[in-house]
Symmetry: C2
């Protein structure tokens, strides 16, 4: 490889890598309605419907640690992550294909467990696992999941539709998966040299579940449809609220104002964060892997969206020049920055 | 992980792993026309057309060695491999999504080269790269390519349609990519400790190209269409003629008889094989990565298919009970076996 002028990827900054890679891509097919820049690509079917297409890769040592991640859960999570990209476009997930890079230490029984988890998720979400590819891997397990979805074109929600005064909504609560990961890492560290380790998870089971077995928020999308609430923009919360909100603002050419005290954080998240000397707000803003939905709705839907009981309104969309601002309880506004490298 | 009764994947035999993993999958969507068991999945679009979906993973150290594989070629090859799965169903490739696992040693410039190669292939093949995912990788570069394609349902060619007396056809020649790989590996070994290595590739450039930059056989498919020749079965030659022919026979519940002296082998392939004390026929039968098309046509198309000048007829389909047989020049029949683990 050419190393005479090598640039580290991290030096490109938050959106630098994706921008650089996608800038060169040319679209030549009429059926390509939406390429890079959203949770999924959108392909014209020549009818009133479009097909959605997403891809998501998980690598061992970065996205999961097999010393504490049960393979059944890993399979489940891999499918949910892929499906979430389709849901975040307000589309119906349908088919899944999976590619596996299998290291020598993976036994047939281990693969069975992985597939059991994948099939469980497919069953719950009503999608079909329709094929795949297996290759050997020199260095750890790799899982890539591609999901197709379908939607009427007019129903698809992009990242780019947020308008000034729209309300910013999120499902469930944030930072729990991040603290679940920290708990697993702590116990692994503490029990490293102990023969029969007994990790202390009591009281924090919810955090583990949020990290190891995230749920797809199908119910929220159904409730929104039933109430006739059409989000103006939406994104899967995978990189953390700060980063993902900035994605929406960037695509929609707008700013945002969110209020710290409105960000929902579960009791267990706060408790463990304090125990571990982590600011729970940092966990909620930057933790990532929440796999909740972040979306915007028109201001006049405020009452309807609150009535669902499934969603928290944490702020509103402003003009682009106002930036993306977190308002503290004492009224101070802090510009939100996100972490650098897109995981 | 559970290691109390671990079974090595290789012990499952040739089709064992895929069979075991796919046996548990249930299909619940009406739109799923064809799941696992072919080069691509087939999805109903509710019109006369169907969408095809393939996935293919390449891992560093197994599928490529960055010490001699130029990144531009690697990007090109990754796309061609994915597109070939769609072509092997007689469908038109349309969109591509790519997931990358990026190790720390990969610079921005290296990624640029990889993308340049991918974009080059997309341009030549008329497909759109419409999105992707990047994640960090602890251990080497991983590339997963998903390709969509489209075809009228009646035009799709499966592995399962071969009938007794059909002719077995292949494009171009076999074993060249395998010998190209051997040449690269030899020069790497020989020049390991030399400061300014000058590998000896003279006379074998064709083999390197076949390994480093395989071509998609779009022209053959177009020629077949123009002549009104509809293959009864087809597969992408990726695992080697022996294995891939057995796949067709297995899916079509038939046997086959191919003739050794009819298997096209390029002069450079034979020369290097002899120089390296490898039987060129073994390279052609088991080498893999040929990325040519193996297909069958009805017997009455013999003249038409020969007239194309693009295809060699190497044998014919027989009844299942006759097995998959290679006939040597002295008339002896040898049962063809394939290698174990599906790469």
């Amino acid at each position: 490889m050419n190393s005479k002028r090598s640039t580290e990827i991290a030096s490109l900054g938050e959106f630098g890598l994706i921008d650089r890679l996608t800038a060169r891509l040319k679209q030549r097919r009429e059926t390509t309605l939406m390429a890079a820049g959203d949770d999924a690509a959108v392909i014209d079917l020549g009818t009133e419907e479009a097909m959605l297409l997403s891809i998501d890769m998980l690598t061992e040592g970065i996205d999961f640690d097999l010393s504490y991640f049960p393979l059944k859960h890993l399979g489940y999570k891999a499918i949910v992550r892929g499906v979430n990209d389709i849901l975040a476009m307000n589309a119906h997930p349908e088919q899944v294909v999976v590619a596996l890079g299998i290291s020598a230490k993976i036994s047939v029984e281990a693969l069975d467990e992985l597939y059991e988890g994948m099939e469980r998720a497919c069953e719950e979400l009503g999608v079909d696992l329709v094929g795949g590819d297996t290759t050997a891997s020199m260095n750890g397990l790799v899982i890539t999941v591609t999901v197709t979805g379908r939607a009427k074109k007019e129903e698809i929600v992009y990242r780019s539709g947020a308008k000034e005064h729209d309300l910013i909504c999120i499902t469930s609560n944030l930072g729990a998966a991040y603290m679940g990961l920290h708990l697993l890492e702590r116990e692994k560290r503490v029990l490293k040299d102990i023969a029969n380790p007994e990790p202390k998870f009591a009281g924090y089971e919810y955090l583990l579940e949020r990290y190891l077995k995230p749920r797809a928020r199908v119910n929220v999308l159904e409730a929104l449809r039933e109430e006739g609430i059409h989000p103006t923009s939406m994104i899967d919360l995978s990189d953390g609220l700060a980063s993902d909100l900035r994605q929406i603002c960037r695509s929609s050419k707008c700013g945002a104002r969110i209020y710290l005290e409105r960000i929902p954080i579960a009791r267990q998240t706060t408790e463990l964060a304090e125990e571990m000397h982590i600011d729970p707000v940092i966990a909620a803003l930057n933790g990532g892997e929440d796999h909740e939905l972040l979306f915007t709705v028109p201001l006049d839907k405020q009452e309807a969206v609150m009535r669902l009981g499934l969603v928290d309104v944490i702020g509103h969309i402003t003009r682009e020049e106002n930036g993306v601002i977190l308002v503290t309880p004492d009224g101070e506004g802090i510009a939100l920055k996100a972490q650098a490298f897109d995981r």
